[in-house]
């Protein structure tokens, strides 16, 4: 099992944070372009899911799976979006995303008065805590081992 990368978007679609752990293939575009493409795709998926759903959706889109990876999506009611790419065997990634939100984002970004919430996150402690949380998670398993 492995975790590839994480994207955090705010409600306006700006990339707040990106980090990668085991990413083998790069898209060949700049991070900015890639984030825009990712956000555009998520935005379309959301409206697609809303329309094609047979009954009224509550959480809406949860994840999609391809032959090589799974993209997990978690959106808070305030419009903050967490996107985590893992391999196809990862279990209970949703809980992990929730943990990232309440244990790392809220604690070290929202509760830090010096951070502008609309700007990309530069805080070292946030990066550190996120990295530890990911690496301690059972989903994370480095391929090099």
């Amino acid at each position: 099992m492995t975790i590839h990368n994480i994207y955090i978007f705010n409600k306006n679609g700006n990339l707040l944070y990106y980090n990668e752990w085991n990413r083998i293939k790069q898209t060949g575009m700049t991070r900015d372009e890639e984030a825009k493409l990712m956000y555009g795709m998520l935005f379309s998926i959301k409206s697609f899911v809303n329309k094609i759903s047979p009954t009224d959706p509550k959480d809406g889109f949860l994840y999609y799976k391809t032959s090589k990876y799974t993209l997990h999506y978690f959106e808070t009611l305030t419009g903050l979006k967490f996107v985590l790419n893992t391999d196809n065997h990862a279990q209970s990634v949703r809980e992990l995303l929730q943990q990232i939100y309440n244990q790392v984002y809220v604690e070290y970004v929202v509760k830090n008065p010096l951070i502008d919430l609309a700007q990309p996150i530069e805080s070292e402690i946030f990066k550190e805590k996120l990295d530890t949380l990911i690496k301690l998670s059972p989903i994370y398993f480095s391929k090099s081992i």
Partner: protein, 230 residues
């Protein structure tokens, strides 16, 4: 007791909602709605209305407010038993004028989840095409396929792409098993009854009776007794 049992059965129900076949170029060539879940709500309202309605895309939809199963996004389609078209009633009255007229209350309003028109289905099918492509482009691993399974809280969408680029898609209940195999079976039906039909031209909508009847019977079998019995 029966109510409880029914509730349990309903929570385990296996349902396939609809099937889509999308051509290589992203056009919808076949669509079949197998199970249509009905969400209709009829309720008597007194003045003033405690829902906020707005007129959008030639429909009157609930913008804000939620009660008795009526939720934002639902469409108003009957007022006192008279059908609503655009923003007018059958007898030519403007719906908003009726709703604002205090003397006409209490009013019986009927709401439902909007049904997809054929146009919207074609639109959605062509919308899936770039999503499928971008998903493989954004992959962190090389040689990745497009979206195979997409899950939301109310359904699961399965997509199977054939080597020739035709996509078979199924919208099913989250508990429904064997949908991947079902899609392969549909591919088989497509090969047998659409492609071998001399009156069928490629990339055009599939209007082959045999294909449709066989598909329906396969769907019924899968829902009732699983994929293994085909």
């Amino acid at each position: 007791m029966i109510v409880v049992l029914n509730k349990i059965l309903n929570s385990y129900k296996m349902v396939i909602y609809s099937i889509y076949v999308v051509s290589k170029s992203g056009g919808l060539i076949f669509n079949h709605d197998h199970t249509v879940s009905k969400t209709e709500n009829e309720k008597s309202f007194s003045y003033p209305l405690d829902l906020k309605l707005k007129y959008e895309n030639k429909r009157i939809i609930v913008e804000f407010g939620q009660r008795d199963g009526i939720r934002p996004g639902h469409v108003l389609y009957e007022v006192n038993g008279k059908e609503v078209t655009n923003r007018q009633l059958d007898d030519g009255q403007d719906v908003f004028e009726v709703l604002e007229n205090r003397e006409l209350y209490p009013l019986t309003l009927k709401f439902r989840r909007p049904k997809m028109t054929t146009n919207e289905k074609i639109f959605l099918a062509s919308m899936f095409y770039p999503l499928f492509a971008i998903a493989s482009q954004l992959s962190p691993e090389p040689k990745c396929s497009g979206i195979e399974i997409l899950e939301a809280d109310t359904f699961k969408l399965y997509c199977f792409q054939t080597l020739t680029g035709v996509k078979m898609m199924a919208v099913a209940d989250k508990n429904q098993s064997g949908v991947e195999l079902l899609l392969k079976k549909i591919y088989e039906l497509y090969a047998d009854f659409a492609l071998k039909n001399p009156f069928y031209s490629l990339e055009m909508p599939i209007r082959c009776e045999l294909f449709e009847t066989n598909l329906k019977s396969v769907l019924d079998v899968v829902e009732k007794s699983g994929i293994t019995n085909i």
